[in-house]
Amino acid sequence: MTILSVEGLEVRRGGRPIVSGISFDAARGTIVALMGPSGAGKSTILRAMAGLDPVRTGTITIPRPIGMVFQFHHLFANMTAHKNVWLAQVHVLGRPLAEAERKASELLGALGVGERAAAMPHELSGGEAQRVAIARALALEPQVLLMDEPTASLDPALRGELAATLRRLAAEGRTIVVATHDAEFARACAHRVLNIEGGRLPPLR
């Protein structure tokens, strides 16, 4: 069952096309990796899917809310890990605070950073910050999770752990789109790998 589709996507920046003619879709419970060297346009596709960059042409069909995990996590610097995870539940979904806090604790625990709940973002290691960021993205119960260069801040041992986590999340029914230049990681976790070159998707798969 197809849950998201991108049709003929073109994004320009300063009048210059960054990506164009991008089309792909993804079924529920699958992991799609957007592979390619730096500057190929992987992040731009993710940002367009998340609604952060304006789309010039093309259509994106994607169920909201979307979970987004940035390369540098962008945890809110002025609040604890725990509050990072419950904030949007309260202010976007209108959940009662107690319920949002309980859910945040559960998510942090499930991702193995339960004991870091009270830490401020600058006190977390790269791996910890990433897991808090995943928890924050999952807190709104999105059907689709977008991840930008998730292995960039991880040492090799943690990469395998992350691949296992993503597999588990996909098995629970989430669709995950990962932008990465790490071929090994892509092979280890993705059901499908799309190679992006110069902002385009070559026809053969």
């Binding site: 998340a50 609604g51 952060l52 909201r64 809310p65 979307i66 979970g67 987004m68 940035f70 540098f72 962008h74 945890l75 809110f76 610097a77 002025n78 904030l87 949007a88 202010h91 976007v92 401020m120 600058h122 924050r136 993205a137 709104l140």
Partner: protein, 495 residues
């Protein structure tokens, strides 16, 4: 060709002046100081030729210079600091409707009086039966010039009769504010009172004088010989009618003057026609002024805190408008910030208090508060704009992908982070505002600096009042700086 030649001529003439002006022979000029700003009828710029000064004291100076065989030359100085400037030796003699006081006699060389005046109570026509003396004015605002005999009268009446003294920097606005109803009476000498009543409709000068005083010339301490020569010239002018002619010309001659002359000429040693106030030592005077200095410090703190709070609120609104607003709003706010930052606070205070008086009569404290708040809000808004823009865009992206609205992102994420960036410059501004608040004395608010200058003028020295004032400002600003450092530390995090 002509320009370089002309320049050469100017340089040559300047160097001539430099060479030959260094005098070995006795000085050819009599330098005399006064305040031409609102100094009529004593010293004021000639309406026909503003480069010249005219007035009673201009002619007294000419009289003295002629007697000494010198040419008079006017030196502009501030009225309230005239004692200090003459003591420093900036000019030979100060002449500017200067009152004879024991404090001046104790510190400076003082000439014999050349004029006797009465302190007059001026009220609105409708109040002339109701307010006949200071005792009738309990709870009412009574205006005068700072650092004058009249001010001392009002300070005594404050304790005795419960009036509220209001001091001005000039002698024009007390009367215009009386006509407007901002104050209920004015006490000043009769020369000023008559001018005030002539210039403003509906004012009445009460007949009974509150006190008498004398105008004298001031010289630096140790100028006893020069003072005696000037006294001789003044006595001659009293005898031969030249002084009377000057006073008649300026329309201030009256029956009090011949009596004064008779007293002075009858007793050649007479230099002791002093008014009432008791002489006091510096310590005694300091103790007497301490409560009023503490009260003035309270005014400074209250004014600074309230105007800073308002400035922060306005600054946040302006900064938000400039970042989130529609283009026309942004342009308007930018123009406003540049207007406020680009003009002096002093001018803004004048406009708010005196300029708008025909339309809306703001109480002095409110005008001061608004002036400081509006002025500082422009600076605060720039701090907040910079701080908001310094929050990394990734923080905003994260908020957007979570579905937070722009307003929620501002309140929950961007604002709190920007506050941390803004804290240090804000503290800096608050300390600056604390000191800038001294400017509001020009619109009659007596805060710490103004009270100190009144104190200093009264005892004729800045040493002790200056130290007390500095100690009070430090006592206010140091805890503030410490508090700010503590808050900063609490909010601090490694980058």
């Amino acid at each position: 060709m002509r320009t370089p030649l002309a320049a050469l001529a100017v340089i040559a003439s300047l160097s001539c002046r430099w060479t030959f002006a260094a005098p070995v022979e006795p000085p050819s000029e009599l330098l005399w100081g006064g305040d031409a700003e609102g100094g009529a009828p004593y010293v004021e710029a000639d309406p026909a030729d503003p480069a010249r000064v005219v007035g009673i004291d201009v002619e007294i100076a000419e009289l003295l210079a002629a007697g000494l065989g010198r040419t008079p030359r006017f030196v502009q100085t501030g009225f309230t600091s005239i004692d200090q400037t003459v003591a420093r030796g900036d000019f030979d003699v100060a002449l500017c409707g200067i009152e004879d006081t024991p404090a001046r006699r104790a510190r400076l060389a003082v000439t014999i009086p050349y004029y006797e005046f009465r302190e007059v109570l001026t009220v609105r026509e409708g109040d002339k039966e109701r307010f006949r003396s200071l005792a009738d004015l309990r709870g009412h605002r009574v205006a005068t010039l700072g650092a004058t005999l009249a001010y001392d009268l009002l300070v005594e009446a404050e304790a005795r009769d419960g009036i509220v003294p209001v001091t001005y920097e000039d002698d024009v606005h007390p009367y215009s504010d009386l006509a407007l109803g901002r104050v209920d009476a004015v006490v000043l000498d009769q020369i000023l009172a008559q001018r005030g009543a002539r210039r403003n409709e509906g004012l009445h000068n009460q007949d009974t004088p509150l006190a008498t005083g004398h105008y004298v010339g001031l010289l630096a301490p140790g100028s006893g010989e020069m003072r005696d020569r000037m006294n001789a010239i003044l006595r001659d002018a009293m005898r031969d009618g030249r002084l009377e002619a000057i006073l008649r010309k300026w329309n201030v001659w009256n029956e009090d003057q011949p009596r004064l002359y008779a007293r002075l000429l009858g007793d050649p040693a007479a230099n002791k026609v002093a008014p009432s106030p008791r002489p006091t030592g510096v310590v005694q005077a300091s103790l007497r002024y301490l409560p009023s200095l503490l009260y003035a410090a309270l005014v400074t703190v209250t004014l600074s805190c309230l105007s800073m709070a308002l400035a922060i609120l306005l600054g946040v609104l302006i900064a938000s408008g400039r970042i989130y607003g529609a283009p026309p709003l942004r342009v308007a706010l930018t123009a406003w910030v540049e207007l406020v930052r680009g003009t002096p606070l002093l001018l803004q205070l004048f406009v708010l208090y005196f300029g708008l008086a025909a339309f809306v009569q703001l109480p002095a404290f409110v005008a001061a508060l608004l002036g400081l708040a509006l002025n500082y809000s422009a600076y605060e808004s720039e701090i907040y704009r910079g701080a908001l823009e310094a929050v990394p865009s990734g923080q905003l992206d994260a908020g957007r992908t979570l579905g937070l609205t722009e307003r929620q992102i501002l309140v929950l994420v961007r604002g709190p982070q920007a506050f941390r960036f803004a804290l240090a410059p804000m503290t800096n501004d608050f300390v600056a505002l604390l000191k800038d608040s001294s400017l509001v004395s020009v619109i009659t608010v007596v805060e710490l600096t103004k009270q100190t200058s009144i104190f200093a003028a009264n005892i004729g020295s800045w040493v002790v009042p200056g130290m007390m004032c500095a100690a009070l400002y430090l006592a206010l600003s140091l805890p503030l700086a410490r508090l700010a450092r503590r808050i900063e530390r609490r909010w601090q995090r490694p980058a």
